[in-house]
């Protein structure tokens, strides 16, 4: 087991480095640069700026310098936010996005999973149709429509929560529901179909034949087996939700990390593009690693056995 973890750690670092390298060279293929303005800068001033940010060095040198700093955990200064470093930007934005993400994931789990089970139990009945309808709605309504709709109903019409902003728990409610919309629907569909499959298994028939109550059959015998696909999607889902959503953060004016995935590219803020990409990929591979570890705990058939070399 320790050896497995070590191997996975190394491969995770490798993946992140490959992502960083790919991003580094791809973003430099984009036309224009971080200092392109509608009012163009005089050539001499541009030269001073490029010297200050070492953009006048040959590309290979910039790459080597960046990688060296990256390995030390230094993501460099932002080109757009002149007095901030990319580390500052992530330190400020990530806790906000993550706080919102925790609430959204909890909502997704506590609403999505029971919804799926409920639907499966009444297969093809009215409750199943209702669940499938809600799931279809959740998957197909884009989050910017959902956001505006929720804001209109709860902030403008009923006036029970503030329209936007950050700082109080009441301001989390609307964005969290918006963010949870898709995962709720997705989980509900996934749980429903997994549950239907599990309920057809022979051991369930056996359990029922033993005379167990339906509640015990579902919650003790069936539920554990539908958790594997749920955990599989939950890993990347958590990585995606925790690092913030551009649309939700923009509409609800939330000071999270999500905006930077889009704005940094528009601004050609090279260090920020790299920083948030590396951060997201690191989180993603780490979540997948956790998912793999959870498998072993959930399903005794999956165990990490070290190969004995004879």
């Amino acid at each position: 087991m320790p050896r497995f973890i070590l191997q996975r750690m190394l491969s995770m670092i490798l993946v992140v480095l490959i992502v960083a390298s790919g991003t580094f060279f791809m973003m430099r293929l984009l036309p224009s640069g971080p200092f392109a303005r509608e009012k163009k800068l005089p050539a001499e001033i541009l030269k001073n700026l490029e010297a200050r940010y070492h953009l006048d060095d040959p590309l290979w040198k910039q790459y080597v310098d960046y990688m060296k700093n990256l390995l030390r955990g230094d993501l460099g200064p932002s080109f757009k936010y002149k007095n901030r470093t990319v580390n500052n930007i992530i330190n400020d934005g990530f806790p906000v996005s993550a706080a919102l993400g925790v609430v959204a994931v909890i909502l997704a789990v506590v609403i999505g999973i029971p919804l799926g089970i409920w639907g499966a139990l009444g297969q093809n009945g009215w409750q199943d149709r209702l669940v499938m309808f809600v799931a279809l709605l959740g998957v197909s309504v884009p989050n910017f429509i959902m956001a505006v709709l929720l804001m209109f109903v709860f902030a403008m019409w009923l006036r029970v929560v503030p329209a936007a902003g950050w700082g109080s728990f009441r301001q989390i409610i609307l964005p969290a529901f918006t963010l949870a919309g898709y995962p709720i629907a997705f989980l509900a569909r996934l749980v429903r179909s997994s549950m239907l499959e599990v309920l057809r298994q022979e051991y369930i028939t056996t359990a029922r034949a033993k005379g167990l109550s339906e509640r015990l059959v579902v919650f003790r015998h069936a539920l554990r087996n539908i958790l594997i696909p749920v955990v599989t999607v939950l890993g990347p889902l958590i990585a995606a939700v925790f690092t913030g959503s551009f649309v939700v953060e923009k509409i609800f004016a939330i000071p999270g990390l999500g905006r930077y995935y889009v704005t940094s590219i528009n601004d050609r803020d090279y260090t920020t593009i790299l920083g948030v990409t590396v951060f997201y990929s690191a989180l993603l591979v780490f979540m997948n690693f956790l998912v793999d570890l959870t498998y072993a705990w959930l399903d005794p058939r999956i165990r990490y056995v070290e190969k004995k070399v004879s």
Partner: protein, 575 residues
Amino acid sequence: MRKSLSLVLIAVLVVVALLGTVSCKSSNGGIQEVTYNLGTEPAAIDPAITTGIPEANIELQVFDGLTRIDDKNVPQPAIAESWTISEDLKTYVFKLRDAEWTDGTPVTADDFEYAWKRALSPDLASEYAYQLYYVKGGEAFNTSIKVDSKYYVQAVDAKGEPLTKKEGDKDVAVPDMTKEIDPSKDVGVKAVDAKTLQVDLESPTPYFLNLTAFPTLMPVCKAVVSANDKWAADITTYVTNGPFKLIEWSHNEKMVFEKNATYWDKDKVKLTKITYYMVEDESTALSMFQSGQLDASSTVPVAELPSLVTSGDAQILPYLGTYYYLVNVTKKPFSDVRVRKALLLAIDRKGIVTSITQGGQIPALAYVPYGLPDALPGSDFRKTSQEDFYKDNDIATAKALLAEAGYPDGKGFPSFTLLYNTSNAHKSIAEAIQQMWNKNLGISCTLKSEEWGVYMDDRTHLNYSVARAGWIGDYMDPNTFLDMWVTGGGNNDTGYSNKSYDALIAKSKTTADPAVRMTALHDAEKILMTDMPILPIYYYTNPVLLSKKIVNFFQSTLGFVDWKNASMQELPKGS
């Protein structure tokens, strides 16, 4: 089970509703506090390095320059109590008043000298350093090469071209070691004593007192800034001297300012607290305005603007800017001035501003917008001399010109692309103009939308036929619009070149006589409007959301907000 669940739900609803009523109580008009949507996180708050309007809207609250712009867009004494100007209009001597930094130390002439030289130094690499190129030796210092701790002029070869050499894989500028620049002597800003600042200019600059109110020329506290280059990253070291001081900054969320109790003119300052929010989405800002979370916003959704103006919740303020199309004059058939004029005349500007932009924009029948001073006090550059250069929607003349150029009814006119940077507003205008050209002239073009960086790149490299552009003035003088069209000018993205135009712009920069200068600028604009490398469409406006509670809100025509004289009033019940 089911019963208890519904009880819990009801309880939750009641609590939420109660919380809602508590926070939704309307703010009291008697309290001198205002909330404003800045629209974005500032790129920085160090006045020497920022270039944007949102940044200026922070810096102007916390700093006070030599002058400050009043509500008529005229500079008034601020930290400078008075000044004298030499006969040749090139030397200014400012007398400073007693004023304090927020750390309790006095504001001195030394702080100004330090701040301006800092903004000009090549090490700081300020994007707006050229706002100080008017100062004698400023440009030379900014473009000099640093060797160890000294600055040198770049060497030139026999042809007068700047000299560089290869150092590894890098091109490095070669300094001329015989020509040292010593910023303490060679840059024309000097603290004669603690309260006297002498400024020498390169050439007469009639709008210099406007510039001294500009963020780049704000003083900074030498003792603090010279010891800590991260001074503007943290509010505890952000020492300032303006009407307000910054007490809180949550990135991408908000900034809080309170009245500066040691400001020299504190009796005029009514507001005790300003909160800036950074809400990027215009519709969200409107929702927050309507639910009482905001008193004002720098952004207004275009679709809602007409009804908001009617209800008195939005105002359309003047703005120094022109929206126009660039024409690539190096490319056939656009190299023919008759073709460019045909395109210009076949646009229905009135239709565009009334049914598309809907923000009170003014159809542009010339290039330089209204609101810039001419030579005589109180006169307007646009209204002096020639106000309009052509008629709007003049289809008959347009058709005749196109036929003269060899394309009667558009026959044989090659199809071309109309380029704009991705935005719904630009798209709607481009679609309308595409139709107008097709209907009026019988020529067809395809629309091409590009992401900002790609679009700028294509514009710079003249890789387009016709492209959307806009220009917002930097300072209160027609020169801010005109000097960009000189041959090879960094912002002249059309390939346009006219020697007489260049000569007139050069003349305007050297003459000391304001009347001669303005005549030269008027003549230059006339040439531009004869050659027509650009197709002016409308003059910008600046719509803002503004609560009726706010009194004396001031936003200059450059787009700078100043809360110094603003206050809040109590509204009669029911309004």
